[in-house]
């Protein structure tokens, strides 16, 4: 088992990534002891880890089953909103702070369905059950009707967009377009302190590492082979006696749960949740992270998410206007030159050139340009 986890192809990348996560976790522990990176950097690390987990969730379904979701923000948001409700309830129970949004909603007390959300294990269960049920219904209905490929991608995009419009309405009751903010306490710690930031970032990095190990175990086993078989030729697999709908729905639900957990880690670190988390742009970007990192390789998704978002954080300060252009250029580059993302780079330029020659992408070779 351990050998198959660390020894198979791409095993070095996996080990290196886990080692990097371990070093990061150690740095965060150092912060807790007062000697590590500062609060700002710690917060960025935590957010990157949450995004990486989200990318991992998408890679599981896209890279291994060939099902592209352009609406994973939906599950991310379910986790995020439930976490926000937990934090507001918990803050209220600890400090008596009445959330801002209740004041502008004109509510005197929490609605009945908020009951118990102040208890974290219950909130966690609510987020997972909600995300799981939404995934189960959308997945089952779509896969049963043989909806796949670009049609499924469009449906998921429409779902996340519909959810955004719903949450933008103030009457829906989750803070409307302002969302929910003003979280003051998490697990009894004051939000915004260096300790709270480090604990959250550490939790994100640890959960990401666990998620990576768990998904790796899933895809390198028997079910992983059946996932690849479904991706390569689903009709073939069905006519061998396999119920591919069950397989696809199951993995779809697992992917949704991972995305929901990522959302629960993300929202406390940015201190706010609002309907923009459901914007189609975010859901599209997740696919870009995975494509850039190299889909079908879990480590690739993690690396892609971290690199693209680190670049985004940096450019948002340095040159906010150029970010969309950089992102677009990256997409074009990946589509034209590196269909397997950064993995193509890691396989070396020799292999890349051989492939370009074979596939006749000669026009991209500068030496052959011109008349």
């Amino acid at each position: 088992m351990i050998r198959s986890l660390l020894g198979s192809s791409g095993g070095t990348g996996f080990s290196l990534t886990l080692a990097a996560l371990a070093v990061t976790a150690a740095l965060l522990v150092a912060t807790l002891a007062g000697v590590g990176p500062s609060g700002f950097l710690v917060n960025i690390i935590g957010q990157l880890a949450a995004f990486a987990l989200l990318a991992l969730a998408l890679d599981l379904i896209w890279g291994y089953l060939g099902i592209l979701s352009l609406g994973h923000g939906l599950f991310f948001a379910i986790g995020g909103y439930v976490m926000a409700m937990h934090l507001l309830m918990h803050s209220f129970e600890t400090t008596g702070t009445v959330p801002d949004f209740m004041q502008f909603m004109g509510w005197k007390e929490f609605p009945a369905y908020w009951a118990g959300l102040g208890v974290f294990p219950y909130a966690l269960a609510v987020a997972l059950v909600l995300a799981g049920v939404v995934a189960l219904v959308t997945g089952w209905v779509s896969f049963r009707s043989r909806v796949g490929g670009v049609y499924f991608a469009i449906i998921t995009q429409a779902l996340v967009y519909a959810a955004m419009l719903l949450m933008f309405r103030n009457d829906t009751g989750f803070g409307g377009n302002n969302g929910m903010t003003g979280f003051s306490v998490i697990f009894g710690l004051r939000m915004g302190t260096e300790t709270a930031s480090a604990v959250l970032a550490l939790a994100s990095v640890v959960v990401l590492a666990l998620g990576l190990v768990a998904t790796r175990a899933l895809v390198s086993g028997r079910l992983g082979r059946l996932m690849l078989a479904t991706r390569d030729d689903e009709v073939r697999l069905r006519s061998l006696g396999y119920d591919t709908i069950v397989l696809k729905t199951g993995v779809w639900v697992v992917s949704a749960l991972l995305a929901a957990i990522a959302g629960m880690l993300y929202v406390p670190q940015v201190g706010i949740v609002n309907p923009r988390i459901l914007s189609p742009e975010l859901s599209l970007e997740i696919a870009v992270w995975v494509a850039i990192g190299g889909r079908g390789h879990l480590v690739g998704a993690v690396i892609g998410a971290v690199l693209v978002n680190a670049l985004k954080f940096w450019l948002s300060f340095a040159a906010p206007d150029v970010w969309p252009f950089i992102l677009s250029a990256l997409i074009v580059l990946v589509v034209l030159v590196f269909p397997n993302g950064l993995l193509d780079l890691s396989r070396g330029f020799g292999a890349l050139k051989a492939r370009m020659r074979r596939e006749g992408v000669a026009s991209l070779d500068p030496r052959r340009a011109g008349p």
Binding site: L223, R231, D232, D233, S239, L240, Y242, D243, V246
Partner: protein
């Protein structure tokens, strides 16, 4: 009792009638060759039998029991029908042994220990002459190797009814001969084999009986020699 009873089926694609009130009975222990010009409906018949296409009218009964025309593809497969597709359909990302193991297991839940499944997969690879390629990725295989790998994969399910759609399309003469010997070796008293082919020579070497289809109907049924002598068959098919 017939292994497979195709009873008065019609299939329409829009206004085009691909199968027109076709009836066909295939017995256990026989290899049936189904031939006919392009568009005769050969592959469509296999699509109906494997549950991919639903006929507009008529029914198909497996083994006197399961009504295929009402069952799901998964249930049909689990009842013992296996099909090799016209275009070699193997799982490129998996090794040859893994491909065959997928065929041996046949369901999501694990039914046998992994070592046993692998041993059976290796036996089947040996039977189709791919024993030395067991741990190579199927995506790297030649066209002929993919054809044989797919045959090993469908044999993994120990089929009662085996449907082979153009198993020698695109193969060299030598490969065709090898495939003919392989298909003959698959003949068993408790198995019916249906081979759809263009290659008349190949069908002649393996089939016990042939059915000639034309425009979705049966034009002739009997021996290959009989087919070659039949005036209508010559007109629509051999004569060209």
């Amino acid at each position: 009792m017939s292994a497979l009873l195709i009873d008065d089926i019609s299939v329409e694609f829009g206004r085009f009638r691909a199968i027109d009130r076709l009836s066909l009975a295939i017995d256990y222990g026989e290899i049936r060759g189904v031939i006919g010009p392009n568009g005769a409906g050969k592959t469509t018949v296999l699509d109906v039998v494997s549950g991919i296409t639903r006929p507009k009218a008529g029914r198909v009964v497996l083994d006197g029991g399961l009504e295929i025309t009402r069952a799901s593809e998964t249930l049909i497969a689990r009842s013992g029908v296996r099909r090799k597709f016209q275009k070699p359909s193997v799982f490129d990302a998996l090794t040859a042994a893994e491909n065959v193991a997928v065929g041996v297991e046949g369901r999501l839940r694990r039914t046998a220990p992994a070592a046993e499944v692998r041993r059976r997969a290796l036996d089947l690879l040996d039977a189709v002459g791919l024993a030395d390629e067991a741990d190579r990725q199927a995506g790297e295989f030649s066209h002929g190797q993919k054809q044989w790998l797919e045959i090993a994969m469908v044999l993994g399910g120990d089929p009662k009814v085996l449907l082979l759609d153009e198993p020698v399309a695109g193969l060299s003469d030598e490969e065709t001969e090898k495939t003919a010997a392989l298909v003959r070796s698959l003949k068993r008293p408790d198995r019916a084999i249906v081979v759809v082919e263009h290659d008349m020579g190949f069908v002649e070497t393996i089939a016990d009986r042939v059915t000639v289809l034309h425009e979705g109907r049966t034009l002739f049924e009997g021996s290959m020699a009989g087919a070659r002598a039949d005036a209508r068959v010559i007109e629509v098919y051999l004569g060209r």
